[in-house]
Symmetry: C2
């Protein structure tokens, strides 16, 4: 059964890139880029990722298996417009996706056909419509929300995300682009409940896959503790 999945490499303090690049100068030289490449280093070191990019070398390890699995299980992708624009040139004639990609955008544009089975279809009817288009194209495989982070958040908040895998990298960036900073639209006594479906750990990164159960009220429950916090309050 097709699931809607997303994965993101994040720092221990929750950033998937450094502070947003203001557009002046080269993105690659920006703090956004420095943070992004730090938290994705485990993947850029992985053979399975490098093969998809047409690069040689890389490590054949647990991290590489995680990358390979994410490519294999994705029958179609949903992608944000900024990520699609940013990747269009560097991904070249044979982008790593090898599947249909549905780009959420406000600007109509003809479908872009690339080699290796990748196509970029531009969807102007919103996130839910893009997920539907991807679901129809994914066959028995999953719909992967490729990013960016704001699109992952939109899919989560819309209640469309079945599975979220975070690759938690042992670094603190202190500032940057956060999956959750934009707000989840939750009330003070509301939460989104998940459960860990798989945890894999390596020295470079801890991979935690969550099943998303959705919104639930945050009711007071001290389990008869007497109300005495013995861990942190501020």
């Amino acid at each position: 059964m097709t699931r809607v999945t997303a994965q993101l490499s994040v720092s221990l303090d929750g950033y998937y890139a450094g502070p947003r690049h203001n557009g002046a100068g080269d993105w690659v030289a920006s703090a956004e880029s420095a943070g992004f490449f730090r938290v994705t280093r485990w993947a850029t070191d992985a053979m399975a990722w490098r093969e998809r990019q047409g690069f040689t070398g890389g490590l054949r390890d647990t991290n590489s298996e995680v990358v390979a699995e994410s490519f294999e299980t994705a029958g179609a992708y949903v992608m944000g417009r900024r990520m699609a624009d940013g990747g269009e040139v560097p991904w070249g004639d044979e982008p790593p996706f090898r599947a249909p990609v549905f780009v959420v955008t406000h600007r109509p544009r003809p479908t872009l056909l690339r080699g290796g089975g990748t196509s970029f279809t531009y969807v102007t009817e919103g996130v839910a419509a893009a997920v539907d288009r991807a679901r129809a194209a994914a066959g028995d495989r999953d719909v992967a929300v490729a990013g960016g982070g704001s699109l992952v958040r939109q899919v989560l908040v819309a209640g469309l995300l079945d599975e979220l895998e975070l690759h938690v990298v042992p670094v603190l960036l202190g500032a940057g682009l956060s999956l959750f900073d934009g707000g989840l639209g939750l009330g003070a006594f509301d939460a989104i409940e998940l459960s860990p479906a798989r945890v894999l750990h390596t020295p470079q990164v801890t991979h935690i896959r969550y099943a998303v159960h959705g919104r639930a009220p945050l009711v007071f429950d001290d389990r008869g503790s007497g109300g005495g916090p013995t861990t942190a309050v501020d």
Copy 2:
């Protein structure tokens, strides 16, 4: 050898409690409390924690072993003033620490002796002095930074923290008190590097213990990726 350690139960989006209680009305009825008890539920359900509180019942499981270990390895504690004040009444005559506790405060106060080996000594010379006092009292065991979160952050930023264990709970709170929100004083191209020392996972929580290596420059390193992000940019 005595290490300076800290642990904190946090939501997947990094909050160890709900939004800060403004002091109006009962803390226990506040959103801060609701978030706090959600992320610490794994501990309040654990037999090892309940025993220390004088409560019956609880689960004897991996989570309970994590709690027991944290009590056993702590030879002395450092604590923030607000946490100490908040716990003074509910912890009662035999607080769960059973070790000397050094409270960082601006208000001089005589040492408070409690039963079971717990004492509260009020240190007005700052965080580093409190850590030194605790180190001298800890013997061969560790100095545990009990919280609150802002004290843990101060100890981390001061470069005094050897080990940080986060108990990552599968819930998104959307807002609240965050270990890192207060800022780490890092430049745009600086980071704090850590490495995972132990990962334990249960359905209720993922325990990740990190060795803290300290500050390091965040240098651009795409490992020859060609600069084409295939994971999230915003």
